[in-house]
Symmetry: C2
Subunit: 332 residues, 2 copies
């Protein structure tokens, strides 16, 4: 059986070392909080609602890659595929709060939910106001009527973008309101061709036969909706767009942002071929694309495959999306 092949040092240190790598390339714009794995902006404004994100490592550039002007203000980080502990979230909450409250934005997973909820209770004891917005964009992970059971994937990027932009000038309640609407307007679905691996154990998350792909695969190898024979990119993208559009639904006259996200080891060529078909299908449906991101935004180690995410715009969300932002992973 094929084994993963990665260039790392001590496997137990990968989360810490990649975090230190990010800090080194950010040239002083990001710093670690003392004693914990959490990143905070060094240019933290003193007069705005704080946006705090976080989650497990292994999905780089999530989460610390989205800390910066017009995005998140800090990120509380866990080990590979593991939620950040409550004390890490709490300390990050205390560091990022400046009296205007802290909004938690993270992917909807049991471990993250539990630890962020504990931190929120402890923050409340400290009289720090928090509000939690869980991202549940993955349409493959539960039916629409159970949307709050869906997993969070690359949709985090759009939700953080809108929250970070709104936080530049909005009140706490207004940031919550527009960010929850952006979250509700966001849907994702992925396709996997091969598995990612866990560095600590050096084993793949799952096995997929050479002639098969899986629609709806989760970021940690959670089962998708259909395992199928390999087919053409256009056929697969058509299925993904159909599932996405039927879910919200996105319909004629809508304007959206589109994210074509590499789950890990797909080639840029494949991402662009997928982008071509996605644009053509959306045009056929009368849905216009305001802006497209293509690249590695929310990964699952070396998983081969990609996900498509759409954010439905309205006037307010569009104007927030267009505001400048500046982080490691996203800049406009």
């Amino acid at each position: 059986m094929r084994k993963p092949k990665k260039l790392i040092n001590e496997p137990l240190n990968v989360a810490q070392e990649q975090f230190e790598g990010l800090l080194s390339v950010m040239s002083g714009k990001l710093e670690a909080l003392p004693g914990i794995t959490a990143a905070i902006r060094t240019d933290l404004p003193s007069d705005k609602v704080a946006i705090l994100t976080g989650g497990g490592a292994g999905h780089e550039p999530l989460f610390a890659g989205y800390v910066g002007h017009g995005l998140a203000d800090a990120a509380a980080l866990g080990d590979i595929f593991a939620a950040p502990p409550p004390n890490v979230i709490l300390q990050t909450t205390e560091a990022v709060n400046n009296g205007k409250g802290v909004i938690y934005i993270y992917g909807n997973y049991a471990g993250d939910n539990m630890n962020f909820d504990i931190a929120a209770e402890l923050a409340d004891d400290d009289d720090i106001k928090t509000h939690t917005i869980r991202v549940w964009d993955d349409v493959a992970s539960a039916p629409l009527e159970k949307i709050t059971e869906r997993r969070g994937t690359a949709g985090d990027v759009y939700v953080l973008k809108i929250a970070g932009a709104a936080s530049l000038s909005y009140s706490f309640e207004d940031v919550v309101k527009v960010t929850e609407r952006a979250r509700d307007n966001t849907r994702s679905i992925g396709v996997a061709l091969s598995a990612g691996s866990v560095p600590q154990t050096n084993t793949f998350n799952f096995e997929l036969p050479d002639d098969e792909l899986e629609i709806g695969m989760g970021l940690h190898g959670e089962p998708g909706v259909a395992r199928e024979k390999m087919s053409s990119a256009d056929e697969v993208v058509t299925k993904l767009i159909d599932q996405l559009c039927d879910d919200l639904p996105y319909q004629k006259g809508d304007e959206v942002c589109l994210l074509v996200n590499n789950l890990g080891s797909s080639t840029y060529m494949e991402l662009l071929i997928a982008s071509r078909k996605a644009h053509a299908l959306l045009a056929e449906r009368g849905i216009s694309v305001h802006h497209t991101l293509v690249g590695n935004y929310c990964t699952s180690q070396e998983m081969s495959g990609y996900s498509l995410t759409m954010l439905k715009l309205d006037e307010e969300i569009k104007s927030l999306y267009d505001l400048p932002c500046d982080s490691f992973a996203l800049r406009n």
Copy 2:
């Protein structure tokens, strides 16, 4: 033997389809020249020296991903791993020229050299002034005394950045002068863990045993300088930095830009772990890093591994590097 697994359509159409994908995501900022595979800015300034790049497909986001404000003005594109034909380069030259001349910037490969040289001669017949700057940054591909035999790799990114910035205000001769100095100040070296594949034949470029890596592997699977047993990331990065620094040489007091480039399927985690060590080693040498890029800038399909590129700055090159640019693959 393991076979490549990619989500594409007709294998003979991949170069064309990824190009169409790029045009679709650029929302009107880039257009194709009629009847050929070449991209040109739709906001082409009418009063500046033109920068023309190009080369084979399969290295996305090179080359068309670097067409935009402050970078290249157009890109002439070939099929997978194949130089653009002379007529494509000539037509792109004619389209991009506005009387101030056209500077060709591309990687130093026999096919590209031949076709760009033919185009330059034909352009001369049309009274279009051209100048050619070949990028030969790969230190592993020939000894220093034969630098003009070295291959061009991710160094293209830095050379295009400086040329594009200079072209905003400089004369033809001055763009050439600073760009050639930037080229001469640029060095790269890569490490491969596994091969990329050619989509048309669905075969890997080379085979590498599971417990080996290759230092200095070329972008098309050209042999490197050493095939070694797998070791730690820190050991490998130390070898890469040693080779780079010894070559120019880069020395104490120098200020550089650093590019940690994914050759294809390495995880972002590995890139950041490499960035951490590269920064530490440069600090030990007394070399300061002005700015770091980390990601997929010049790829070789799904090759696993990465390359390090350094650009030595001086006052003029640094001020050009810091000017804004806006393209699919690079923005600051």
